[in-house]
């Protein structure tokens, strides 16, 4: 139906987008896996990070890739504080309360952005924004390639932290058995906040990779929320591998969907996947929880 060159190009583009999606989903998975919170504010926090990257470039001239450590650190601190100060107090022992609290945060962030930055869509111009690289018959934009590589590197870093460091072990302990971890002397509140911070730090990295090839406005967050959740449920709640694989899958589906159905209708493919998975196979591909 479409010539193989266009198809190939679409799939490749989907994969590059998918890598960034995976990074976003990894943060969400970490937060869910450890705190058992469905972080509704994930999209809004990404939007926040995107604006941070934007302003660092526009006001201070810092290139997004160079701003990476700064944005990641800032998002980590923001996440840590947010969990410790707000979300932790909202629990009252009921999941619904936390859900509502994160919804509230999302609403506040999104509309504060609307208030302060207006609804205009903004993007940045970098020296390499428009350069492309030829891979076979496809022309891939350089920023997207960098995003792909960068997202994979950060994901690998995350896997390393979770698997090889003391912090990672503590996090996994709390995720598996909170009370036992407490008895072992692990400061659970601190671990919760660290996990949330790392989850948002992933968003910081994702924002640095995303902005050069994308844009930001106050509403982008909500666009990403459902995509991120689709990936997480598709991959299996709490599964890192699932988030990675799911990210690539969704990226490709979105790209192909856009190709065949047009930009907006193509989005429906993602929601259809979400609804389908949640209804018929809630454990996703790799998930343990139903």
């Amino acid at each position: 139906m479409f010539d193989p060159g266009i198809l190939f190009s679409s799939v490749l583009n989907g994969l590059t987008t998918g890598a960034v999606y995976a990074l976003i989903a990894l943060g969400l998975t970490l937060i869910y896996g450890v705190l058992h919170i469905i972080n509704f504010a994930h999209g809004a926090c990404l939007m926040l990070a995107l604006y941070a990257v934007y302003f660092l470039k526009e006001r201070l001239g810092i290139d997004p890739y160079l701003a990476l450590p700064l944005v990641v650190a800032a998002m980590f601190v923001f996440g840590y504080a947010l969990q410790r100060i707000v979300i932790n107090r909202a629990g009252h022992g009921k999941d619904e309360n936390i859900l509502l609290a994160t919804l509230g945060i999302a609403i506040v962030l999104e509309n504060l952005a609307l208030l302060f930055f207006k609804s205009d869509t903004r993007n940045i111009d970098t020296a390499y924004s428009l350069s492309t690289v030829a891979i076979g018959p496809a022309m891939i934009a350089v920023p997207k390639l960098v995003a792909f590589a960068g997202a994979l590197v950060v994901s690998a870093l995350l896997f390393w932290v979770m698997g090889r460091t003391d912090l990672g072990r503590a996090i996994r302990a709390v995720a598996k058995e909170k009370e036992g971890a407490k008895l072992m002397g692990i400061d659970v509140d601190h671990v919760y906040a660290m996990s949330f911070g790392i989850g948002l730090a992933c968003l910081g990295a994702a924002a640095c990779f995303l902005l050069p090839a994308y844009y930001v406005n106050p509403q982008v967050g909500s666009g990403f929320v459902l995509v991120a959740f689709t990936i997480v449920v598709l991959g299996g709640m709490g599964s890192f591998v699932g988030a990675l694989v799911g990210g690539f899958l969704v990226g490709v589906v979105e790209s192909l969907g856009g190709l065949y159905l047009g930009e907006s209708l193509g989005q429906i493919g993602i929601f259809a996947i979400f609804i389908g998975v949640v209804l018929f196979r809630p454990q996703g591909m790799f998930g343990a929880r139903a």
């Binding site: 058992h36 469905i38 509704f40 707000v86 932790n88 107090r89 909202a90 629990g91 009252h92 022992g93 009921k94 999941d95 619904e96 309360n97 859900l99 509502l100 609290a101 919804l103 509230g104 945060i105 999302a106 609403i107 506040v108 962030l109 999104e110 509309n111 504060l112 952005a113 609307l114 208030l115 207006k118 609804s119 909170k178 659970v188 919760y192 106050p218 909500s222 459902l226 959740f229 047009g262 907006s264 209708l265 989005q267 429906i268 929601f271 259809a272 979400f274 609804i275 949640v278 209804l279 018929f280 809630p282």
Partner: protein, 332 residues
């Protein structure tokens, strides 16, 4: 209504509803200020949204984050029935209500059949709302992104009133209907079953309650009232588009007002809607027409309520007592 109990408390509640209806209905007779009537009308409209959400969320315990789904469907049916079907507005109304109830039953049947609860259910409702929004954007008979305009043809026969009073009475009728349904939920076997399912589904099943049917009826009712609100919106503003119909603003308004006022109560939604509406108006007077400021306030209020007053303003007595007894925080 068989099964409804007329106890002293129940009778008191009914009297309260009657008083409320009478008092508000008389408002246009004591003031002709367009601004005042408009304020009350919009407050009632917000109340209707909150009441609709309260049926499924407060009484049923199923939190929907995409309640605009039913609102938008009702609105579009109201508009399309008139524009393309040539139907009279009053005939379009039951179609709008019925249509949104049907969508509610559809989403409910899917979700509850597969045992969706909590966050998953919230997300699925949001996903459906988004799907409908995208479809509305892309399809021609909804007017696409441009939306639909219902032409001005002022007459009672067309459900378009010359003064705010007419619209006020219209939305008041819906609000009173919702109050009566909520009263029925508080004083009937069905309502007892719905709350039982909310509080502990397994325990309810063990004594003969069919959770699927109970929840399905609730989402249908809830959807119906949202549809009425949507139809009302179209009649007042004579315009609808995908963003207004299925966007998150309406979903959030309904949810926050119901929670702030106190879920699962008779007057909670009224209280919450009025408080938020007053807050929004105050903000507008203080800061002018700032885009998004309303929603910021709603979001902040939501977070504050969840942290400090999880039972809402209406449940303030209970929540303070719980806090005092130390039943505060608990992870997970």
């Amino acid at each position: 209504m068989s099964g409804a109990r007329l106890s002293a408390q129940g009778a008191r509640q009914l009297a309260g509803i009657a008083l409320f209806a009478l008092a508000v209905a008389c408002l246009p007779l004591v003031t002709t200020s367009g601004a005042a009537l408009n304020f009350v009308m919009m407050a009632l409209y917000a109340t209707l949204l909150a009441q609709a959400w309260n049926i499924l969320g407060g009484f049923g315990g199923q939190f929907s984050f995409g309640h605009a789904l039913f609102f938008g469907t009702g609105a579009y049916i109201q508009a399309i029935a008139q524009l393309q079907g040539g139907f009279n507005a009053w005939l379009a109304l039951p179609m709008a209500v019925g249509g949104s109830a049907a969508v509610g039953l559809f989403v409910g049947a899917l979700s509850f059949r597969y045992g969706l609860k909590g966050s998953y259910f919230a997300l699925v409702t949001l996903a459906f709302a988004e799907v409908f929004r995208i479809v509305a954007l892309s399809v021609s008979f909804t007017g696409g992104g441009v939306g639909l305009m219902v032409p001005l043809r002022e007459s009672v026969a067309n459900m378009q009133f010359a003064t705010r009073a007419g619209y006020l009475w219209l939305v008041l009728a819906f609000v009173v209907a919702a109050l009566l349904v909520t009263w029925w939920l508080r004083n009937s076997r069905y309502g007892a079953y719905l709350q039982a399912v909310r509080d502990n589904e397994d325990a309810a099943r063990a004594v003969g309650v069919n959770p699927f049917r109970i929840k399905l009826a609730a989402i249908g009712l809830s959807g119906a009232f949202m549809g009425a609100a949507g139809a009302f919106y179209v009649q007042v503003f004579q315009y609808i588009d995908p963003a207004i119909a299925y966007g998150s603003v309406t979903s959030v308004e309904a949810l926050v007002a119901a929670i702030v006022g106190g879920m699962g109560t008779l007057w909670g939604p009224v209280l919450g809607a009025v408080v938020l509406h007053v807050l929004a108006d105050l903000t507008r007077n203080l800061f002018g027409e700032l885009p998004g400021i309303n929603m910021v306030i709603y979001g902040v209020v939501l977070v504050l309520i969840v942290i400090f007053l999880p039972r809402g303003i209406g449940g303030i007595g209970l929540s303070v007592r719980e806090l005092w007894a130390g039943k505060g925080r608990r992870h997970d």
